[in-house]
C-alpha cells in the first residue's frame, strides 16, 4: 500500500508555544504513515516542547495537530489511543516489576488481558528482559529501565511512537536491540518521530530528518537531500547538521 495514500501519521500546522520566549514558533510538519522521522536540533531548539504537544502533555498556544486524521486537540483521547510517548527519563514505577508495569500500561490503554499478556511476553523476550521480569524496577539499571519503558510504549501497539532521546543511557548492545525493535515496528506500518543528539542513530535509522532551530523547522529531507542543501557534498551528517543549524540561526 502506498503510505502516502493514508492520512499522515502526524500533521502539524502553525504550531506555537511560548514560555519566557517562543519555544516552538509556527511549525509545520508532515510525517507520512510508516515513516521513521528524526528531529535534530541544538539544545533548547524546541524539539521536546514540540513532541510534548504532540503527545498531549502540553497545550499549544496556537496551531493544529492531527494524528492519523484525528484532531489531537479536539479529541485528545482518540489521538492518544494511537500514540505512545517515551522520553529519556524512563516513566516507570520503582515498586512494580516490569511485568506488572506492562499490565498497568495495557490496562490504561484498554488492551484486553489475554492480548496484553501475549504482547508483554513477546516484548519481554525481544528486549531481553526475562531475567528481570519479576524484579522490582527499583533495582534495575538505567538501560534496563529504559527498555522496560519502551516495552510499555509498545504493549498497546501504537500507530505513532514519539521518542524523545530514547537512546540516552543505553549501552551499545541495548541500543542495537532497541533499534532492531523500532525497525520491526516501522516495517509493520508504525510511524516513529524521534529526537536524538546521536547523529549516527539518525543517519542509520531515519527515512527523513528534520532540522529544528529556535523553534522553527529549518529544513528537512533525506540524508542526501540535507547534504545537498548544506552544500556539504559527501560530508558526514554532523557537518551537514552544523552547517544547516548555522544557516537556520542566521536566517532567524
Amino acid at each position: 500500500m502506498d503510505r502516502f495514500a493514508l492520512p499522515p501519521a502526524l500533521k502539524i500546522r502553525d504550531l506555537a508555544k511560548r514560555f519566557e520566549r517562543p519555544a516552538v514558533d509556527g511549525m509545520d510538519l508532515d510525517v507520512p504513515a510508516g515513516e521513521f522521522y528524526t528531529l535534530l536540533g541544538p539544545n533548547g531548539a524546541g524539539k521536546t516542547t514540540m513532541l510534548r504537544m504532540v503527545g498531549g502533555l502540553l497545550k499549544p498556544d496556537r496551531g493544529t495537530i492531527s494524528i492519523y486524521g484525528v484532531d489531537a486537540l479536539a479529541d485528545p483521547v482518540a489521538a492518544k489511543r494511537m500514540t505512545a510517548w517515551l522520553s529519556d527519563e524512563p516513566m516507570i514505577y520503582d515498586k512494580l516489576t516490569p511485568i506488572e508495569y506492562l499490565d498497568f500500561v495495557a490496562g490504561l490503554w484498554g488492551v484486553a488481558g489475554d492480548i496484553a499478556k501475549a504482547r508483554a511476553t513477546d516484548l519481554v523476550g525481544w528486549l531481553g528482559l526475562e531475567p528481570h521480569a519479576q524484579e522490582r524496577c527499583e533495582s534495575l539499571s538505567k538501560g534496563t529501565r529504559q527498555k522496560v519503558a519502551l516495552a510499555g510504549a509498545l504493549v498497546h501497539e501504537p500507530r505513532l511512537i514519539i521518542l524523545d532521546e530514547p537512546f540516552t543511557g543505553l549501552d551499545a548492545g541495548s541500543a542495537r536491540l532497541v533499534k532492531g525493535v523500532l525497525r520491526e515496528r516501522v516495517k509493520a506500518g508504525c510511524s516513529v518521530v524521534m529526537t536524538t543528539h546521536i547523529l549516527e542513530v539518525a543517519e542509520r535509522m531515519s527515512d527523513r530528518i528534520g532540522v529544528i532551530s529556535a523553534g522553527r523547522l529549518v529544513t528537512q529531507g533525506t540524508l542526501d537531500e540535507l547534504r545537498s542543501k548544506a552544500g556539504a557534498g559527501q560530508a558526514s551528517l554532523e557537518d551537514a547538521f552544523l552547517a544547516l543549524v548555522a544557516q537556520g540561526t542566521l536566517a532567524a
Binding site: G55, G56, L57, V77, A78, K80, R81, T83, A84, W85, S87, M91, I92, Y93, D94, K95, L96, T97, I99, E100, L102, D103, F104, V105, A106, G107, L108, W109, G110, A112, G113, D114, A116, K117, A120, Q134, E135, R136, E138, S139, G152
Partner: protein, 509 residues
C-alpha cells in the same frame, strides 16, 4: 570573607543554601509573593497569640515562688515538647544520612568531612530551634505579658531542648546504624521517632482515660496523685522548669548542660558522619526483590488499574506506609476509650468523634498527596487515552477506600454503643477526608514520591488549610455528637475555610 574550608566558610555556604531554600518554600520561587507571605505570617502569629491567650486564660502566671503543682505542669509540658521535637530531629538526621544532594560533591572534595558535618549538625539544631521557638513563642509571649519578664527564660529553655533533641537524635540514629545496619535504619528510625513522639502523649492520655475518663493530658499533670509522688520543690529535676521561670542559676545550668550535650554529640559524631553517609549510599542501591506472583493481565477498566496501582505502590513501600500510618498511633487512646466505653456502656463519643475526624483528614491529605501529586510517571498517565477527570476520580477513590478501610472498624464498634455518634463520625470522617483531598487537588504540584516528607513545604497555604479544615470538621463533629446546634456554626466555619482556600488556590485560575 572567611578562608575557604574553614568552619565559618562552610557555615556561610550552608546558611546561604538554607536561606534560599526557606525563601523558595515560602514563596514558591515568586519574589512578589514574599510580601503576601510576610503579611500572612504576621496574621498567623497574631491569631496564634490570641489562641494562646484564650488557652492560657485559666492559669495563674503571677510572681512569687512556684509551688510543686506548677513545677510538675511546667516540667510535664517541657517533656511533652521535647518528645515532639525528637521525631523532627530524627527525621532531619535520617534525611542528612540518606539524601544525596550535594554530599557526593562534598565528600569527593578535600574539605574536612568533620568540619562539614559539624556545621550540618549545627544547622539541624538551628532549624529545630527555630521551629520550636516559632510554635512556642505565642504561649511564651502571653506568659511574659501576664507574668512578667521572668518568663523570657522559656525562650532559652526551648532553644536548649531543641539542640539537645538533635544531639539525642544523632546518637540514637547512629546507634541504630551500628546495630541494625544502614539498609534498615531509615525505616526503623522513622518508626522509633514516631513511637517516641507519640509514647509520652499517648501514655498521658491513657492514664487520663483510666483515671478521669477523658483524653486531656493535663488532667494527669495537674492530678493530686502525681503531685503527691513528685519530688520536693527543691529537687534538681525541676531546674528546667525553674529556668523557664527565670531562675538565673537554673537558667545558666540548663544552658551549660545543653551546650555540653550538643558539643559532645558534635565532637563524637561529626567525624563518623561521613562514614554513615557512605554506608547509607551503599544501602540505597536496592536489593533485587523478586515478586513470586506474576501479573494477572486481567481485563480491567482504566480506573480499576489506576486504583490498583495506587494501592500496590503504597503497600510495597514500607517507608511511606510508616510515614502515613504512624499518625494513626494517636488513634490508640480513643480506641482504648472506645473499648472502655464499650465495656462500661458509657457515652464518650463526644471525645472519640473529633479524634477520628481529625485523623481521617490528616491521613487523607497525606494519601491524596501521594496519589495525586506524588505520581512518578506523570507523562505516562498524561499520554494515556484516559480523560484527566477520570484519572483524578480513580485516584480519589483509591484514597477514600483506604480511609474507609482504616476508620470503618472504629465507626462500626462505635455504632454498637452510640449509633448517633457513629453516624456523626461516619459523616465527619467522609467530609473531613474529602475536604483534605480536595485541598490537595486544588494545590497539586507534581513531585517525586520520595519528596513526601517535604510535601508541606511545596505549599504552606495548602498545609495550613488542610490542618484548619480538619480541625474545624473535628470540632463540628464533636458539637454534633453532643447534640449542640453550634455544630452548624462549626460546619459553616469549615465550609468558609474551604471556600477561602479554593479562592486562593491555583486550581481556580
Amino acid at each position: 570573607m572567611s578562608r575557604t574550608g574553614t568552619i565559618a566558610w562552610v557555615a556561610r555556604h550552608e546558611g546561604r543554601l538554607a536561606w534560599r531554600d526557606l525563601l523558595w518554600t515560602m514563596t514558591a520561587g515568586r519574589r512578589r509573593r514574599a510580601r503576601t507571605v510576610a503579611l500572612g505570617f504576621v496574621v498567623f502569629l497574631l491569631f496564634m497569640h490570641g489562641f494562646a491567650a484564650v488557652l492560657l486564660s485559666p492559669y495563674d502566671f503571677g510572681a512569687g515562688n512556684p509551688d510543686k503543682r506548677m513545677l510538675v505542669v511546667l516540667t510535664g509540658t517541657l517533656a511533652l515538647s521535647w518528645s515532639l521535637m525528637l521525631p523532627q530531629a530524627m527525621e532531619a538526621v535520617t534525611r542528612a544520612f540518606y539524601s544525596r544532594g550535594d554530599l557526593d560533591l562534598v565528600l569527593s572534595s578535600p574539605l574536612s568531612a568533620r568540619r562539614f558535618f559539624a556545621v550540618r549538625m549545627g544547622a539541624m539544631a538551628l532549624t529545630n530551634m527555630l521551629m520550636a521557638l516559632a510554635l512556642a513563642a505565642p504561649f511564651i509571649d502571653v506568659a511574659v505579658w501576664r507574668g512578667g519578664a521572668r518568663w523570657l527564660g522559656a525562650y532559652v529553655v526551648t532553644a536548649v531542648l531543641a539542640a539537645v533533641a538533635v544531639a539525642a537524635a544523632v546518637a540514637l540514629t547512629a546507634a541504630l546504624f551500628r546495630s541494625i545496619g544502614p539498609r534498615r535504619t531509615r525505616l526503623v528510625a522513622q518508626i522509633v521517632a514516631a513511637v517516641i513522639g507519640a509514647a509520652f502523649v499517648i501514655g498521658l492520655q491513657l492514664a487520663a482515660i483510666l483515671s478521669y475518663h477523658t483524653l486531656s493530658r493535663f488532667m494527669i499533670l495537674q492530678s493530686d496523685l502525681l503531685i503527691g509522688f513528685a519530688p520536693e520543690a527543691g529537687s534538681i529535676l525541676w531546674w528546667p522548669a525553674r529556668a523557664v521561670l527565670g531562675d538565673a542559676l537554673a537558667l545558666i545550668a540548663v544552658l551549660g548542660l545543653g551546650a555540653l550535650v550538643f558539643g559532645a554529640a558534635v565532637a563524637a559524631f561529626a567525624a563518623r558522619f561521613a562514614g554513615y553517609v557512605l554506608a547509607a549510599a551503599g544501602a540505597s542501591h536496592s536489593v533485587r526483590r523478586r515478586i513470586g506472583k506474576a501479573a494477572e493481565f486481567r481485563s480491567r477498566s482504566a480506573a480499576g488499574v489506576l486504583r490498583r496501582k495506587e494501592w500496590m505502590l503504597l503497600w510495597r513501600d514500607p517507608w511511606l506506609v510508616s510515614q502515613t500510618l504512624m499518625q494513626l498511633l494517636y488513634l490508640l487512646p480513643p480506641a482504648f476509650l472506645l473499648w472502655r466505653n464499650f465495656a462500661q456502656g458509657g457515652g464518650s463519643s463526644i471525645l472519640i468523634v473529633p479524634v477520628l475526624v481529625m485523623g481521617a483528614g490528616q491521613l487523607a491529605g497525606a494519601l491524596a498527596w501521594l496519589a495525586i501529586c506524588g505520581e512518578d510517571a506523570p507523562d505516562l498517565i498524561a499520554s494515556a487515552p484516559v480523560p484527566s477527570a477520570r484519572v483524578l476520580r480513580a485516584k480519589t477513590e483509591a484514597v477514600m477506600s483506604v480511609i474507609a478501610f482504616v476508620f470503618g472498624p472504629f465507626i462500626a464498634v462505635l455504632a454498637l454503643t452510640a449509633p448517633f455518634g457513629a453516624l456523626v463520625a461516619c459523616l465527619g470522617v467522609a467530609i473531613g477526608a474529602a475536604s483534605a483531598t480536595s485541598i490537595q487537588i486544588w494545590f497539586r504540584t507534581q513531585a517525586k514520591r520520595s519528596y513526601f516528607r517535604r510535601r508541606q513545604t511545596s505549599s504552606r497555604v495548602a498545609t495550613i488549610a488542610e490542618a484548619l479544615s480538619s480541625c474545624s470538621w473535628a470540632g463540628t463533629g464533636a458539637l454534633a455528637a453532643a447534640g449542640s446546634c453550634l455544630a452548624i456554626v462549626g460546619a459553616v466555619l469549615a465550609l468558609a475555610i474551604l471556600g477561602g482556600t479554593w479562592m486562593i488556590s491555583p486550581a481556580r485560575s
